[in-house]
């Protein structure tokens, strides 16, 4: 007997005496994240319907494979073979580890999925089902410390996705100065990704959090102050950016398959 049922503690047989709907938040988190994982896995392996001039899905950008359809390659560059070890590799599988790793190691998502998927704990003051716990001190969870590297990679991806959003100001014929619903979708998606990245705890630490003397580094203190304001909304940016990226992919797919028409404002 361990935890709240340890022999020295008050003898209460219930795992929790909470009367509120403590299970609701982890249940919703589980549902949304699980749905996203299923959808993202399907799309990553689909290997099609990710590009329609001038829109590219964020799941497939930058498109670095020889298998990328015409016009979708980053500056026409394709350093990765279409086949790896004899298997046809979807272009998304080459790059998804970076945004996936960034979100998997994100301090907010850690809270969300430790609660919703691993029930460690399912909610505050609700006893978890595990008999042993070592936290993030051993493999594989010690790899959460790689968050900083995924953060840097994420910034590079944000640049690519912003570039994609800029390209979306073209029309089907490649002429500049046009704007469609797809443009708005990609601009919203890339903007929210910037907010998500810049509100990150690692960003906050990197720009100034690691300092002991704020007064000796006024510029970094100012940056830290700005990022600290964004950081209070990191959870919201995490969800909104996830939804925006998923919707951007859905939108591009629907347009690419001909199910939806990309309406041009001008």
């Amino acid at each position: 007997m361990s935890g709240v049922f340890s022999p020295t503690r008050a003898k209460i047989k219930e795992r929790t005496l909470r009367t509120d709907k403590w299970w609701l938040e982890p249940a919703i988190t589980f549902g949304v994240l699980f749905s996203f994982v299923i959808y993202a896995t399907f799309r990553a392996f689909e290997g099609a319907n990710y590009f329609v001039e001038p829109l590219i899905s964020p799941f497939y950008s930058p498109c670095l494979s020889e298998a990328c359809v015409e016009g979708s390659k980053l500056f026409g560059w394709a350093p990765v073979s279409a086949q790896v070890l004899g298997f046809a590799l979807s272009p998304a599988l080459i790059i998804l580890i970076f945004p996936l790793g960034f979100r998997m190691t994100c301090y907010y998502y850690r809270k969300a999925y430790y609660r919703a998927f691993w029930l460690s704990p399912p909610a505050c003051a609700v006893a978890e089902p595990h008999t042993k716990y070592t936290g993030e001190t051993r493999a594989p969870l010690i790899l959460q410390n790689a968050h900083r590297w995924f953060f840097y990679a994420g910034l590079v991806f944000n640049v690519f996705l912003t570039y994609d959003a800029v390209l979306a100001f073209k029309n089907n014929d490649g002429q500049w100065g046009h704007m469609s619903v797809g443009t708005l979708v990609l601009v919203a998606s890339s903007s929210l990704l910037w907010f998500y990245s810049l509100s990150c705890h690692t960003c906050r630490h990197t720009v100034g959090g690691r300092l002991k003397h704020f007064s000796k580094h006024p510029v970094r203190y100012k940056l830290w102050s700005v990022v600290s304001v964004l950081n209070t909304k990191h959870q919201q940016f995490a969800w909104f950016s996830l939804a925006a990226v998923a919707f951007a992919d859905i939108y591009v797919r629907q347009v690419a398959t001909g199910a939806w028409t990309n309406f041009y404002f001008f």
Binding site: T8, A10, R110, K111, S215
Partner: protein
């Protein structure tokens, strides 16, 4: 206006115990500690409860109210439905002494394991001057009233008694963070000891400590995560290793 309130209060000690039903008068504006005192005065004269200031500043009356770790003196009875039975139990992470009183000495032992601030040797006492921006960050942590609700709700020790040996808990992570962020503190290895001796790596950021803090200290965002990032600086950051910054930090 006086009305009747249904309570369930845990009574017992380390050998046995259980929830006892009681009906008590409650007046408008009263807090849970008020009705506990009324129960003590009128129905259970030997009910043990720890309290002191009745103003949310001493941290004595920590207990669990409807399963949530809270201060009894800061929990309005009006925040519950009128027909709701309020269940009151002692803190469930610490050994029980009697009724609503637990043995929180674990926390004092952990406090003693953290080296105190060390003043620079070349600076006379009283000669230190700090800018407000340097003081502000750690001032938040100084609001701690040591109610130990964060320690109680932290699942690392609440659900795993065996971790108490190696885990200091959120209250002491804010203490370590406060000292590590202090511009004048001479001790340079607080990051390393936080990880290797005080169990910082066991925290999985589920933020329950922040949720229950009656002083609204952002324990996770402003203390634990910054300390984890500082640990990454010295232990897990290949760029800093390659650039020699790790060695330089050790020399400091």
């Amino acid at each position: 206006m006086t009305r009747k309130l249904n309570l369930r209060i845990w009574r017992g000690d380390s050998t046995d115990g259980g929830l006892k039903d009681v009906v008590v008068d409650v007046n408008e504006g009263e807090v849970v500690l008020d009705v506990i005192h009324r129960v003590q005065a009128t129905q259970m004269g030997d009910l043990a409860v720890r309290w002191n200031c009745k103003a949310g500043k001493c941290g004595s009356c920590s207990m669990e109210i409807n399963g949530k770790p809270r201060l009894a003196c800061m929990t309005q009875v009006a925040s519950f439905d009128e027909d709701e039975t309020i269940t009151i139990t002692p803190l469930r992470a610490f050994p029980i002494i009697k009724d609503l009183v637990t043995d929180v000495s674990f926390n004092y032992k952990k406090a003693m394991e953290i080296p105190a601030y060390e003043h620079p040797t070349d600076l006379a006492p009283g000669a230190a001057r700090m800018e407000q921006v340097d003081v502000e960050r750690s001032q938040e942590f100084r609001k701690c009233i040591e109610c130990f609700l964060c320690q109680n709700t932290c699942h690392v020790i609440r659900d795993h008694e065996e971790n108490k040996k190696s885990f200091a808990g959120p209250r002491f992570f804010i203490r370590i963070a406060e000292l590590d962020m202090h511009p004048l503190d001479r001790i340079k290895n607080r990051k390393r000891t936080a990880q290797e001796e005080h169990g910082l790596g066991m925290c999985n950021i589920t933020k329950c400590c922040t949720e229950v803090c009656p002083e609204h200290i952002k324990i996770t965002d402003n203390a634990i995560i910054p300390m984890k990032e500082r640990v990454v600086d010295i232990k897990y950051d290949p760029a800093r290793m390659f650039s020699g910054l790790l060695r330089r930090e050790k020399r400091d």
